[in-house]
Symmetry: C2
Subunit: 333 residues, 2 copies
């Protein structure tokens, strides 16, 4: 059983997922890749994954886990957290721990092994954003969970251990530290100004027009004012919404358009670049929040100087976002 | 001039150090190494570094920057922050920025290019810990600075761009986010319990004896209860002190002994492992703090699954610290 442990000074939770390694020297080796080998996420290999929890694009007369589909969501075969059991919160002197209860799911974004997320056609890419919405809605019914983390690791240097295009959902019994910090920071601003800081950022960025990478009628993509990494981008809805899961189809479609354009602009600037993206949304079952605004953060993985963090929450970035924004705008798509 | 910028939601500061890169494609390339090439930190090459700000082991009749020395501290030739100028704090709508004023220094830990920090003899290694103390003392006289970050990147995957054994000091006009979080977290504990959380951790760890890697009369090395990475270690003084800079020679000597032993135990478990260490100490010119306790954190850089952070302040660790502690204790030195 995995375990959740809390740092007594910072309140930072970490997962101890014992199953993942055994001997000290196991940790120096990179995780094995499927390059040219067997891919458990490809069609015809559905039996090698746990049973799917969501599927799109399968004809109604086909059976579950059969090989006709456009997108599948399956539990992770090597989950960081497990779905069955009780939290069993315990103290150990001044320390706090609980069982590693949660869900860890894999969104298989396309049946085609060679597809890259950034270049998926609109009708295919939208399925991923719909799957995020539908899975968070479903997982929010489990009262043990406080938050669903949604993220994608694209490329080996961004932590991807499988080539086949996929993203991940992790349902957690606690709020991640970064979410708490964002909620607190935006609430402090709200109390002072009576406005959403994210709405104010969007207004100022549209007016200044020096960090606005692209936009459509429902979304904007910004190079944030204080980016951790060169070419970092935030994709934000123009309208104030604290939760991702209330989006309708028109919103998902506009999100797909701007996400696709933003990633293709990034790839044109730095061909083949690896990146992570993370969805930032409100805690599960929270009422709508006036101070919080859902968004995606896309962080490219670049050289070790770029975006280097000194273990103190302090980043150094060799290029201002106004410059990366200009590059991102100027590329031909 | 580098620039400091603050994220308006999280209060996270980042440095924009323009000098470090120019074109988008520059960022995919790893920084160049000196492997087999010219080393600017070696003796006889003193003219290739800026003038030294501290030297140990030079005969008094030799001139400054001459080639007889045991340890040198020099300004970084490509500093992330610059020493000259005013902070010139400015707002830009809802954003905050200031000039990137600070000091960025390199501690050249040995004249011998082939030396590895973990295996330096006692008389050589102690010079590094003395240099940290003496440089922080000196930099604390500059009223513009709020904090000195002291850290070492060992190995390419830990961000080192030069082979020659060295560590770095960065004097900052603001407090890094992690320091603020530690100060706040430990203060909250202090207000509740009227005790230092770090002192309580040390007491509990000595009593439980399952995460205590090694110890001497003045220091302990722990595998922390909630580590970000396998084989993470914290080195802490037994006696309560909030500031590193009040250490006497006996303390520096004991610190050198336990640091050397801890790093050699780590290297025996995972030969050649790359790592970062960071000094955590109180802000400059602060009075002694009852709730804060200086210490070093050593974080190995391992495989991309191990210690993987999902961009949300949430780490997954494949091995519990009780197991790494057992490995670290059992190795033959």
């Amino acid at each position: 059983m995995p375990e959740l442990r809390k740092d007594p000074i910072l309140g930072r939770w970490i997962i101890i997922a014992r199953e993942r390694g055994k001997r000290p020297t196991d940790f120096v080796v990179e995780p094995s890749k499927t390059k040219g080998g067997f891919c458990p996420l490809c069609p015809e290999h559905e039996k090698t994954t746990p049973d799917e929890v969501l599927v799109y694009g399968r004809e109604p007369w086909m059976g579950p886990n059969s090989s006709s589909w456009k997108l599948r969501v399956v539990p992770n075969k090597y989950p960081a957290l497990v779905i069955e059991g009780e939290l069993d919160k315990q103290g150990e002197g001044l320390y706090d721990r609980m069982n590693g209860i949660g869900a860890h799911e894999v969104v298989i974004e396309s049946p085609n092994h060679e597809d890259q997320f950034a270049f998926l056609p609109h009708d295919q890419m939208i399925l991923t954003f719909r799957a995020f919405r539908d899975r968070i809605r479903d997982l929010s019914q489990d009262e043990r969970f406080a938050y669903v983390m949604v993220f994608k690791n694209y490329g080996k240097s961004a932590g991807a251990s499988l080539e086949h295009s996929h993203s991940q959902l992790v349902a957690l019994p606690i709020l991640p530290r970064m979410v708490v910090a964002e909620l607190e920071g935006s609430l402090a601003y709200y109390k002072y100004k009576d406005r959403c800081v994210f709405c104010d950022i969007i207004r100022q960025e549209i007016q200044q027009d020096i960090r606005l990478v692209c936009e459509n009628d429902k979304f904007v993509t910004l190079a944030p004012f204080a980016p951790r990494s060169p070419f970092e981008m935030w994709i934000m809805p123009r309208e104030h919404h604290s939760s991702y899961i209330n989006q309708d189809e028109a919103s998902l479609s506009a999100l797909t358009n701007i996400f696709s354009e933003s990633l293709r602009r990034l790839d044109s600037c730095i061909p083949g670049v690896h990146y992570n993206f993370v969805l930032h949304t409100q805690p599960l079952r929270s009422k709508s929040l006036g101070h919080y605004h859902w968004h995606f953060e896309i962080v490219p993985k670049l050289s070790s100087i770029a975006g280097f963090e000194w273990g103190s929450g302090f980043y150094i970035n060799p290029i201002p976002p106004e410059d990366t924004c200009r590059y991102l705008r100027e590329v031909e798509l």
